[in-house]
């Protein structure tokens, strides 16, 4: 098949040296960026003129690069893999030799990825995910795409002997391809507050690092004249702050939009016998296989704006996938019909059957109480800072009230023979999560002192990846939900995977 004999030990593509070199350099630069920045800063401050072309600097740089190239070359030479007796073997290490073997039956998934460097030199990386611990990391950094696909097929084929006949005959139907228009609409309807917080935190984070640098640039001299900071007039200060906030919002908006495209470029979903295959990404191309048996929670996300555009996001969590990978298991830009179709594939008959059981009104009281506490704290701070800002209370109270009301209104749970469905969301977002009862790992009943006074409790259902919570229901109902779930798990004794 395909002309590759995986039983013979083979090395990765010779281009692997470049990838190993790139990865090592990236790691080192990432780890020492602060040190480098400090040196650079010192250099800029001092009036010394270091000759970058002097024999010494050039010599040192070249020998460092050469050293890493040699290490990369040795790593390449000492990296061999082969498949034998239904085991995948990997030998690596220059001084510390390592030999890893994985039984084919233990292989959970094979990922093919491509980062920017790998795209440039036209190779892909292949990583193998095993059951159980996520410490064993098996990654072949550089393979020609054809060979990687062949190896993937070979590994997964020997895993499931029964499927061997099916794999070739099964036609891969492209279920969905995200158009540029869809991604654009998804991008502009994102929750920009999230990006805002992210960028804000980033700026605060690096602020201390670059503080000295910024002081050097003397921003005040440039921008101060625009806003008359010297006069310290309140209007000037306000204008300055508002324009910073507006600028940050514009940046956040662009950031969400660009991130949407980087993450989901050429998003393609293929339907397969055992699940889905998702491929996407601009700089980091990823290819994920989603098998129905390993899916734990499935969540549908939308918000007010996305609803207008008819956009929904479907995200999955999988058992035994590492956290970094977990975040990629989502499909954006789906319409209502596609959502129904996918749901039907994994959760047949659930749609249209949902009976919304509402939480107790105590949930609303609690939300109002917590919003009030927050409001009081904000007001106390504002009171001591500037009384003008107390005006912010008008939109804030409206927002908090509406948020509390909608959070309560959107919350519900549904339970039937096979599934648990939980509805949630806030003022703008709406989420619906599904979990198969047989995938329950444990059930807990939680009761705070306040809930106890009112005879209420919450039920948390743990799965192999994420837990779902039914909040604030009557204690008797909570016990019955728990009894029911335990009964289903214990007596039907279905495999959770």
């Amino acid at each position: 098949m395909n002309g590759y004999n995986f039983e013979q030990p083979s090395r990765q593509s010779i281009k692997g040296i470049i990838v190993i070199f790139g990865v090592t350099a990236y790691k080192i630069i990432k780890g020492t960026i602060v040190v480098i920045a400090v040196f650079l800063l010192k250099y800029i401050r001092s009036d010394k003129n270091i000759d970058f072309l002097s024999f010494k600097t050039v010599g040192i740089s070249i020998s460092i690069i050469l050293l890493f190239l040699i290490i990369a070359f040795l790593k390449y030479l000492n990296f061999q893999f082969y498949v034998k007796d239904d085991h995948f073997f990997l030998k690596k290490g220059i001084f510390n030799k390592e030999e890893i073997s994985v039984a084919s039956s233990k292989i959970q998934n094979v990922y093919i990825k491509q980062n920017l460097l790998q795209q440039l030199i036209n190779v892909v990386s292949l990583s193998i995910e095993t059951a159980g611990d996520d410490k064993t990391e098996i990654e072949i950094l550089a393979l020609p795409k054809v060979k990687a696909n062949a190896l993937k097929a070979y590994l997964l084929q020997s895993k499931a002997h029964n499927d061997r006949l099916n794999t070739n005959s099964l036609e891969e139907a492209v279920f969905y391809k995200a158009s540029v228009k869809k991604l654009f609409l998804e991008g502009i309807s994102e929750n920009h507050f999230k990006s805002f917080v992210l960028i804000f935190a980033f700026i605060i984070g690096i602020y201390n690092d670059v503080k000295a640098f910024v002081e050097q640039l003397d921003l005040n001299a440039v921008f101060g004249s625009w806003f008359q900071l010297d006069e310290e007039s309140l209007v000037g200060l306000l204008l300055f702050n508002i324009s910073i906030v507006v600028a940050l919002f514009i940046i956040s908006f662009l950031f969400s939009l660009v991130m949407m495209f980087i993450k989901n470029f050429k998003l393609t979903v293929k339907q397969k016998e055992e699940g889905l295959e998702i491929s996407k990404g601009l700089f980091n191309k990823i290819n994920l296989a989603l098998s129905a048996s390993r899916i734990q929670n499935t969540t549908i996300y939308t918000n007010k704006l996305k609803q207008v555009f008819g956009l929904y996001k479907l995200s999955f969590t999988q058992a035994m996938a590492n956290k970094k990978q977990q975040r990629n298991f989502n499909i954006v830009g789906l319409n209502r019909g596609q959502i129904s179709e996918l749901l039907h594939q994994f959760y047949p008959k659930v749609e249209g059957q949902i009976i919304k059981n509402r939480p107790n009104i105590y949930m609303l009281y609690r939300l109002v109480l917590m919003s009030t506490v927050m409001l009081v704290i904000i007001n106390v701070l504002l009171f001591f800072w500037s009384k003008l800002f107390l005006l912010i209370n008008i939109p804030l109270i409206l927002y908090l009230a509406a948020n509390a009301f909608y959070t309560y209104k959107k919350s519900y749970y549904h339970l039937d023979n096979e599934y648990i469905a939980i509805g949630g969301g806030r003022l703008i977002d709406t989420t619906t999560s599904f979990l198969e009862i047989k995938k329950t790992q444990a059930v807990s009943l939680n009761q705070t002192l306040f809930q106890k006074q009112r005879g209420l409790a919450s039920v948390t259902i743990y799965s192999a990846s994420k837990s779902v919570t039914i909040p604030h229901i009557n204690l008797a109902d909570a016990y019955r939900v728990k009894d029911y779930l335990l009964y289903k798990v214990e007596h039907e004794n279905k495999n959770w995977m």
Partner: protein
């Protein structure tokens, strides 16, 4: 009662977990709670005292007795909560699952079916060893914290249950 749709079994007839009689853990475990509390506050009070001795700052020196008193009050409050939450530490083994409960402010009763157990272990800290106590930990495949840890079991009980659970797991396979 439209609690569940498409219902096939009578929910009322299911084994009821609210009627489950939970067994309290060993009394001796309260000693560990007291000891942990004493150690934690001794470190805090010690640090405060050392800071006070070496500090020349007038404000700190004048506040010292106030802070010390505050810590002592906090110590007794912690002890009180320690006692209340100790009373909530209970467990029960049923035919098909294991239940453990803990927490005073947030009371949490976790139940883990035997057919979801991944592995079990017994751990014993230094103090627990001296007092003849063990912690029985039962792990499910859940990454999200659906595990059961029963602290303060008498050593013999923990080992019995360990053997019992091991037998169940082996029979399952």
């Amino acid at each position: 009662m439209a609690l569940f749709s498409n219902i096939q079994i009578d929910v009322e007839s299911l084994p009821k977990s609210d009627q489950l009689v939970l067994v309290p853990i060993s009394h001796t475990y309260f000693k560990i709670i007291i000891l942990n509390c004493i150690i934690a506050y001794a470190v805090l009070i010690g640090a405060l005292s050392i800071f006070n001795i070496f500090s020349e700052d007038y404000i700190i020196n004048s506040l010292f007795w106030f802070l010390l008193g505050f810590l002592v009050v906090l110590f007794f409050i912690s002890l009180g909560f320690g006692y209340l939450s100790f009373k909530k530490r209970k467990y029960a083994f049923r035919e098909e699952d294991i239940t453990s409960s803990q927490g005073y402010l947030v009371h949490k009763i976790v139940t883990l079916p035997y057919n979801r157990i991944q592995h079990i272990e017994i751990t014993r800290t230094f103090i627990a060893r001296k007092l003849g106590l063990s912690t029985l930990k039962i792990y499910s495949a859940g990454e999200s914290g659906g595990d059961v840890a029963i602290k303060g079991l008498p050593k013999a009980v923990a080992e019995n249950q360990y053997a019992f659970l091991t037998k169940i797991i082996n029979e399952r396979l």
